[in-house]
Symmetry: C2
DNA sequence: CGAATCTGACAGGACGGGCTGTCAACCTGG
DNA sequence: CCAGGTTGACAGCCCGTCCTGTCAGATTCG
């Protein structure tokens, strides 16, 4: 391991390490988002990143850790997009929900790899599934909170709020999955409208 | 290969082969439903079935084929349970939908392994995912058709019927998944009620 | 009984991915 | 410049799974 940690090609040891980590994350997104879980081996990721295995272990303990990190990165992005949309959204519940959903769907339309990672592949392997559950739960909470903020006293009480939030989140995930894989031929607008309707129909009494 | 095909221990060659196939399917359900996709190797399935690998290839070309067959078997069962419930159900849309959903959920409550296979594991590996898509599509169609039968002219027109059916099927799958894994603490009744409400709220205009 | 078939157990090769070590070439700082 | 950190390339081991082959013992039927 590095003991003196000097600069190389003008960048410090820390920066170089961070750069390599970034390259690995980008490569992970590329491979996982195009070839899928099965074919996302350390060998493939390292080849994509043009780094050797040694540098892989510098930042990650193994393949699982990298892939969880990739999925997390996408989840953080999705969360940020939704929150930003909500902050900028009008006060009407229906319109606000629509904006948030549009932001969520738009992220995956802009980069299908992220959609595949967040929705398709995150359901594949056990370690990512655990993560996916946590994320879904987080989104569920976000939905519940927004529901309460938007609908006030008309919002659903526990445990119905959480149950319906799961119902909504799962449905949206499945719908976006079908849309991403081209199984269903619907426009982005239709996806968003249907999800917004669904939310409006079930988020309050 | 067998050329003469004589009886052994009182059973014909065909019956023996069929028995072995059944044992493999049962072992596949057990291993896939308890240990999960990753750990469901041919070695593990053969050990569980107390058969050697040779007999594995007698009935299946490889591990994927067996696991798809296992998932199919569960899917057929689920489909039959839902259809039977619908045939025996009252004419009121709300009650009929509730019966069908209860039958679906009840199957997985009775045997959680089937739930794990149908909902958790079927999303894991690519070959099973393709199957899952087809099955979901089949259920979607079933839901669409039932929606039209139950609600008549009030049912949703394309493409909204399919979009909403996917939204519903995906949501129910996610909800049942959370319920199976104990992530959410809700009673069976609550799951069924919420799903029935959701269906009633979105299956017609 | 005896020949043919069936069965179960196991050995072992082929293959691929995870993981470590070596080595030459390169860059930096004294 | 040169001692020592840094990098990339690659060989090679370990391990688990897939898959095939062999063989002794059990069972059937002429």
């Amino acid at each position: 391991m590095s003991v003196s940690a000097r600069t190389y090609r003008g960048v410090s040891a820390e920066e170089r390490k961070a750069e390599r980590r970034e390259k690995l994350l980008a490569a992970g997104l590329e491979v996982l988002g195009t070839l899928g879980w099965e074919r996302t081996t350390m060998t493939a990721v390292c080849a994509e990143a043009r780094l050797t295995e040694r540098y892989f272990y510098e930042s990650f303990s193994g393949r699982e850790e990298l892939l969880v990190a990739v999925a997390d990165q996408v989840a953080v992005e999705a969360r940020a997009a939704v929150l930003a949309a909500l902050r900028a959204a009008p006060a009407q519940p229906r319109a606000a929900a629509r904006e948030a959903i549009a932001a969520f769907v738009g992220l995956f339309e802009a980069d299908p790899r992220k959609g595949r990672v967040a929705i398709l592949e995150s359901a594949a392997a056990p370690p990512m599934r655990r993560r996916r559950q946590e994320l879904l739960r987080e989104f569920t909470r976000l939905i519940v909170d927004e529901g309460h903020a938007l609908f006030g006293a008309a919002a659903l009480p526990p445990p119905w709020d959480e149950i319906n939030a799961l119902l909504f989140a799962g449905g949206l995930a499945e719908l976006v999955a079908a849309w991403l894989t081209g199984e269903i031929d619907a426009t982005t607008e239709q996806i968003i409208d249907a999800a917004a309707d669904q939310f409006a129909a079930t988020a309050h009494r």
